[in-house]
Structure formats: structure tokens, C-alpha cells
């Protein structure tokens, strides 16, 4: 079952690495409440602006928390404006993902 972690529950703009740490911690707590069969979806709906530093820190931390090793983890709901930041940040951290029109499915982290 898909379980959405909605970023917009926390803010609709994200700037700093400190915020990246904070949201990754919140995601970690959320992920612990899921069963192995659940699909974790990081939901960018209603998020209007993000910085590269925020997202880089967020990805770095969820990687440290081993969240990327979950069987199923997806990103969805991005706007056209923030997509380039998501795309470049995942590439920057060597995150492999399979894109579809509305969803990015993270496969694993290569390093």
C-alpha cells in the first residue's frame, strides 16, 4: 500500500541544510511506522520552491538512515519548477531511479 510522506505538511518552501536534516528525521520516524509491504512515497505536492542544498542534505541523510534500501520508495507530486532540482540532486548523489511521468522510483544508491 502506498504511504505518502507529504512534505507540504511541514513547509511549502525549503532552503537550508538544517531543514534537510529535520525533514529527513521526520521521514525516518514516518518510515518506521510502515510495514515492509508498504510503498513509501515522498510527496512533493504543493511544495513550491526548494533549494539544492536542502535536497542534497535530505538525500544524504535518508541515505544514512538506510531508507533508500527499502524495497519500494518513490517520489511524486513535483511541480515543473522544482523537478530540475530533484533530478539534478538525485544524479549528484548517484541515486539511481526509474522515472515515469508522475513518479520517480528510487532503485538503490550506487555507492
Amino acid at each position: 500500500m502506498k504511504k505518502h510522506f507529504k512534505l507540504s505538511d511541514y513547509a511549502i518552501t525549503y532552503s537550508t541544510r538544517a531543514k534537510g536534516d529535520e525533514i529527513a528525521s521526520a521521514l525516518s520516524v514516518f518510515a518506521k511506522s510502515l510495514s515492509d509491504e508498504d510503498l513509501l512515497v515522498i510527496d512533493f505536492n504543493d511544495v513550491e520552491a526548494i533549494s539544492y542544498s536542502f535536497l542534497d542534505q535530505f538525500i544524504s541523510r535518508i541515505s544514512e538512515f538506510n531508507l533508500l534500501k527499502r524495497k519500494e520508495i518513490s517520489i511524486s507530486g513535483w511541480s515543473q519548477d522544482v523537478f530540475p532540482v530533484i533530478d539534478k540532486s538525485l544524479q549528484h548523489r548517484h541515486c539511481e531511479y526509474s522515472p515515469s511521468r508522475n513518479e520517480l522510483r528510487l532503485v538503490c544508491q550506487s555507492n
Partner: protein
Amino acid sequence: MEYILEAPKVFDKIIQIDKLCLPRNRKYTPEDIITIDLSNVCFIKPLGVIGVLLLVEYITRIEVDKAPLVEIIPPKDDEVTDYLLRVNFISALKTLTEWNIPKELKDSGRKLKPVIPITKFRNPQDIENIAHAMQEKFHSEFIGLTTLLQPCHVVFSELAINAMEHANSNGGFVLAQQYDYIQGSMIEIAVGDCGIGISKSLKQKPQNKKLITSDRQAITLVLSGGLSRINDPYRGYGLNHVKEELIHAPDRSLTIRSGNGYAILGTGDRPYSANCKYFPGTLAHAVIPCSS
């Protein structure tokens, strides 16, 4: 001794910050007076406004028993005075030290809608709050420009984060505004800090020392990405992201001044860089046409 720093009549270029440079390695006494003369200014861009604030911050950091008196002569031009009031210049000055403000400058009652009036940020939460306020402005007062929120957000966030995380400063100042020039409407964002500057920051990592030969080269290197004071191969891309955000759309530009150097980056261009007089900290100025 009195030092008079006379701001240029049209204050719109980063090199003109030279006019605000104090002699280096000078030991000041309380008998010294530093006068920042804005009286002849008839036009000033955000980079000039933030530059004046960085200078004042630099002076007010001198030890109390050695600190010179600092005096600002306001512009004779009413429109410039009006502008400075509307972008909260007086309030920003008050965050640095106490001033005797002439009565006629105290209560403007005027209204301008800068994207971000001059705001001091001291910690990551301040940056988040400013970014959120900017988002609200785009939805209330700049409705037709909402597609520019994301590039403005990246520019502000990455520049402010650098000031917070890498400059050994106690934060910095930001001013963002929309202005209708003859060539079209532009959003301008200036971010400055009174920290150690880009070159010194990078040299905190020993391996970087041999790579950096000048302040201007340090600026061009960080714009290329991958160079940081932090020992992490994934770090050091903040200014590169700002550059990438700006160079792929027409007529956007980025100017950075730090230490003895500055660099100017236009659309699709390699940066032009040059040496200049020493000015404390780092000052960045981005221009985004509203039509882009």
C-alpha cells in the same frame, strides 16, 4: 583623522564598492571619524545598499574602545532617500548599532513592495522564514511572476546558506526587489555578509591552499563547482547551482565580490573576473529579467 567615503552618483556596479573601501591594516581610535557620504547618490542598486551595510557592520565590529565614530550623510535626492526608507535601510542600520536618526527620516509612511526588504539573517530558520515570506510575496504582489519564484528561491537560498555556513560571519543581509528599467522589468537579489570571504573560507581545507592564487580566482573556481572548505566530495556546489540557474536564460546575470576580487557572469558566458580593492566579506548580486 577623518575618512570620507563618497558613494558614486549612480551606484550600480560592483566595482564601485571600491569607493567604500577603508585603508587596510589601519588601527582606528575613538577620535577617528568615518563618514559615508551618500549625499550625491541619485540612483542606487541593491548591491550598493547592501555594500553600505557591510561596511557599517565591519566598522561596528572594531573593539569598542578603539571604534571610530561612523556617520552617514543621507542622499540629497528625495527619491533615493524615499527608496532607502522603503527597503528598510534605517531598520537594517539599527540592527548593527545605535544611531541618531534625524526626525524627518524616521517615519516614512510610504509604501514600496520589495520582494524582500533589507533583512538580516542570523541562522537557518531566518533563511527559511525569509524564503517563505518571498513565496507569499510572489502570490500576493507579484502574481504574474510566480514562475520566477523557484529561480529566485535558489539564488537567495544558496547565497544565504554560504554566508551562514562558510563565511565565519554572524549571518548576512538580503535585499530583493523588482524594478522597472528602460530595458524591462527586473528582479534583483543582493546578499552580503561581513565574513572571511570566499578565498579564506576555501583555504580552511589544506588541500585547497595550493589551488587558490587570488581572490578573483577563488570566486571563479567556486562558480565552477566542486570546491569547498568541507572534506566531502558532494559539497561545494551551491554557487555553481546559482550560476546554472542564471546562465541558461537570457539576460540573467550574477556578480560576486569577495576580498580583493570580483567576477561577473552573464548568460552563457564564462565569468569575467578582475582584481579590486579589498572589501570585507562577500557581496553577491543576481539579476533576473521578469520576462524570462
